[in-house]
Amino acid sequence: MIPSTKTVLAVAASALLLVASGACSAPGSDEASGGSDSGPIKFALVDAQSGQLSSLGAWELKGAKLAVNEFNEAGGLDGRKVELTVFDDQGDPTTGTSIASKVTAGGYTAMIGTAESAVTLAMNPILKAAKVPSITSGQSPAISKLGSPFQFFNGPTSVTYDETLAKYLVEDKGYKTFAMISNNGGYGTGEHDAFKAALSSRNITPTDDKVVTTDQKDFSSVLTSIRGKNPDVLFIGTEEVEAGLIAKQARELGLKSVFAGAAPLSTPVYAQTAGNANVEGTIVSTPYLSNDATDASKKFAAAYKAAYNEEAELHGAKAYDGTNIFLTALKATNGEGGQKLADQIRATKYAGLLGSFAYDDQGVGIHETKIGLIKSGALTAAQ
C-alpha cells in the first residue's frame, strides 16, 4: 500500500519535531550529561584520526581507550560504564571548533584531547562556556595562559620541557652555540618561545633562529645556512614527521650538530622518518623515558601490547594518565560533571606514568621532565 501524502507529511512533521526537541535541550541537561545516576557516562575523545598528525591521534585513542576499558571492567562507577566517542579533528582548529559545539550539545561529561595545541586553543572558549572539563596533550604555554578552570594538561608545558633541556645542554654538557628550527604552528610557536627564553636567561643568542611552515618538506635553505655556522646544537621545535625530515636532511647536508628537542623527538615516528643512524645521539626532554622505567609503566606497556600488539610510547601514556585522572575525579563526584568535576580534578593527586600529578591554577599537573638520549635507535636515560 502506498502511503497517502497526508500520512507522509504527518510522519515527516513528527520526525522534525522529535529532532527539534532533541536539539533544543539545554547542553548537559539530558540523562547522560553526568548529572544523573543511571545510564552510561559519555566521554568525548577529540584527536586527529586522519591527516598529517593522525599518528598522535591514534596513540592518544589507544591510551585513553585502555584506561576506559580498565575502568569499565573494574565495574565502572557503581555499575555505570563510561562510553568513549571518537571525533576526528583532522589536526584542524576549524574542525575542532565545530566538534566543540557537538561535544557541548551532546551531553558529554568530559573531553579527552586534543594532541594539538592549536586545536586545543580553538576549542577552549566553547568548552569553557559550557563548563566541560577537557585535558589536552598539547603543551603550548598559550593554553595555560587562557586561564580556563576547565582546561587541564596531561603533561608538562613547553616551558618545563625546554627549561630542563636548556639547563642540561648549557650547564651539564657545556654546549655554547645553538641554532633553532621551529614551525609556525601552535606547537612550534610555543617551543620557539620557550627554548629561546631558556637560552636567553643563560645569556645565549642562537646563531640561527629559523621558522618553517608546518607543511614544508625541503629544508635545504635553512639547513645550509645553519651548517655555515656549525653550531654545537640544533634545537628542533616541530612535530615528529617534520622533525624527522629535518634531522634526515641535516645529516645528508653534512650538518654535525647534536639534535635536541622535546616530546616529538622521543617518538618512533621521528626515528623512523629520519633513519636510526641520523638520530643517534639526539637529546630529548621528556616526562616518559621508557616502558621499563617503573612497575606502573611495565604494566601499562604489557596491557598496551596485549590490546594493540604495539610498543607503548609517550602519547599513549599521556592519554592513559589524563583519562585515569578524569575517571578518578569522576568517581569522587559520583558521576557529576561541570564545575564540580573540574574542581575535583584540580584536587586530585595522581601517581601516573609521567610522574606525580598535582594541578596548579593554570591546569598544569606535571612540572618536570627527564633527559633522554637516543642510542642505537632506543631512548635511554642520559647520564
Binding site: T213, K217, D218, T224, S225, G244, L245, V269
Partner: protein
C-alpha cells in the same frame, strides 16, 4: 652562493615529484578537458602501495613501484568507468565525482593502512655526493632521472604510437574522432590509467623523501595542480617546467620568507597566472564544459 645552489638542488628534487603529479593532471585534462581532483589521493595510494610491496613484501624498490603503477592504473580505469555515463552530459557532476573519489580514497587508505603512516627507508644506501661543499643526495639524482625518463616515454607514447595519436585526436575534436572510428571512452580510460600510473610513480618516489600517510595526497596534489596550471594546463612539457618551477620557488621562498613561504609561493603563482593566464607554454586544450 652555496646556500642558493643547495636550495636549488633541494627544490629541483621535490619539483620533479610535483612535475610527475602535474603530468597526471595534465594528461587527463588534455584528453578529456576534465580536472581529476582525485589525482593527489591517487599519488597517496601509489605511495602506500609501493611502500607495502617494498617494506612488507620485501620486493626490490623498482619492482614495488612498477606494481603500484599497475594497480593505480587499474584504479584509474575504475574511476573513468564510473564517470563515463556522465561524459558529454554533466561535466560539473564529473568534477564533483573526482572530488568524491579523492575523499573516498583517503578514507579507504586510513582503513587499510591505519592512521599512523609510515617512513619509507631510502633504497639507496650511498652517501650524498660532495661537490665542493654542495651535497647532492644520490636518491635525488634517481628521482630526477626517473622523472625525465617518464616524460620522454609519455611524449613518445602520445606522438609516436597509434593509440597516442588517437588520444590526441579525441582531445582536439571528440565528435570527429568518433566519426573516424576512434573509441572516445577507451581513449579517456587510457588517459585516466596513464595519469593514475604517473601519480603512483610520483607517490612511490616521494615515499623515501617524505613520510607516507593518508594526507600525503593533499599537499602534493595542490602543488602538482598549481604546477600544471603554471606550465600551461594540458601541456606535457609545461607540466615538467611548472613542477620544477614550483619546487624551486617553494625552496627559495622557505629560505627567504620562512613562516610566510607558502603565502609567497601562491602570491607569485597568482601574479604569474594573471600575466600569463594560459600558463608559461600558453596551452589551449579542450574545454567540453
Amino acid at each position: 652562493m652555496q646556500v642558493q645552489l643547495q636550495t636549488l638542488i633541494g627544490g629541483l628534487t621535490l619539483g620533479a615529484i610535483y612535475a610527475l603529479v602535474a603530468l597526471g593532471f595534465s594528461l587527463v585534462y588534455r584528453t578529456m578537458g576534465l580536472v581529476n581532483f582525485a589525482n593527489g589521493q591517487i599519488v597517496m595510494i601509489g605511495a602506500y602501495t609501493a611502500s607495502t610491496f617494498y617494506m612488507t613484501a620485501k620486493l626490490p624498490f623498482a619492482v614495488a613501484i612498477v606494481i603500484a603503477v599497475v594497480i593505480t592504473g587499474a584504479l584509474g580505469l575504475v574511476i573513468e568507468r564510473v564517470l563515463r555515463p556522465l561524459e558529454g552530459r554533466d561535466f560539473d557532476l564529473m568534477l564533483i565525482g573526482t572530488i568524491g573519489f579523492g575523499v573516498m580514497l583517503e578514507a579507504l587508505a586510513t582503513i587499510i593502512w591505519g592512521a599512523t603512516g609510515r617512513a619509507v627507508p631510502s633504497p639507496l644506501k650511498a652517501a650524498p655526493i660532495d661537490v665542493g661543499g654542495l651535497r647532492i643526495r644520490t636518491y635525488s639524482i634517481v628521482v630526477l632521472i626517473v622523472a625525465a625518463l617518464a616524460t620522454i616515454a609519455l611524449v613518445a607514447f602520445l606522438q609516436r604510437t597509434k593509440l597516442g595519436s588517437a588520444m590526441q585526436a579525441v582531445a582536439m575534436d571528440p565528435d570527429a574522432a568518433t566519426a573516424v572510428g576512434i573509441h572516445v571512452g577507451r581513449s579517456n580510460a587510457i588517459a585516466f590509467a596513464v595519469g593514475a600510473g604517473l601519480a603512483a610513480l610520483a607517490g612511490g618516489l616521494a615515499g623515501p623523501l617524505l613520510y607516507v600517510n593518508a594526507s600525503l595526497g593533499g599537499s602534493l596534489g595542490i602543488k602538482g595542480f598549481a604546477a600544471a596550471i603554471l606550465g600551461g594546463f594540458g601541456n606535457i612539457q609545461g607540466a615538467i617546467v611548472g613542477g620544477l618551477a614550483i619546487g624551486v620557488l617553494d625552496s627559495f621562498a622557505a629560505g627567504q620568507f620562512e613562516g610566510y613561504s607558502e603565502l609567497v609561493v601562491f602570491v607569485v603563482f597568482t601574479v604569474v597566472i594573471m600575466i600569463l593566464p594560459t600558463g608559461i607554454f600558453g596551452e589551449r586544450t579542450v574545454n567540453r564544459a
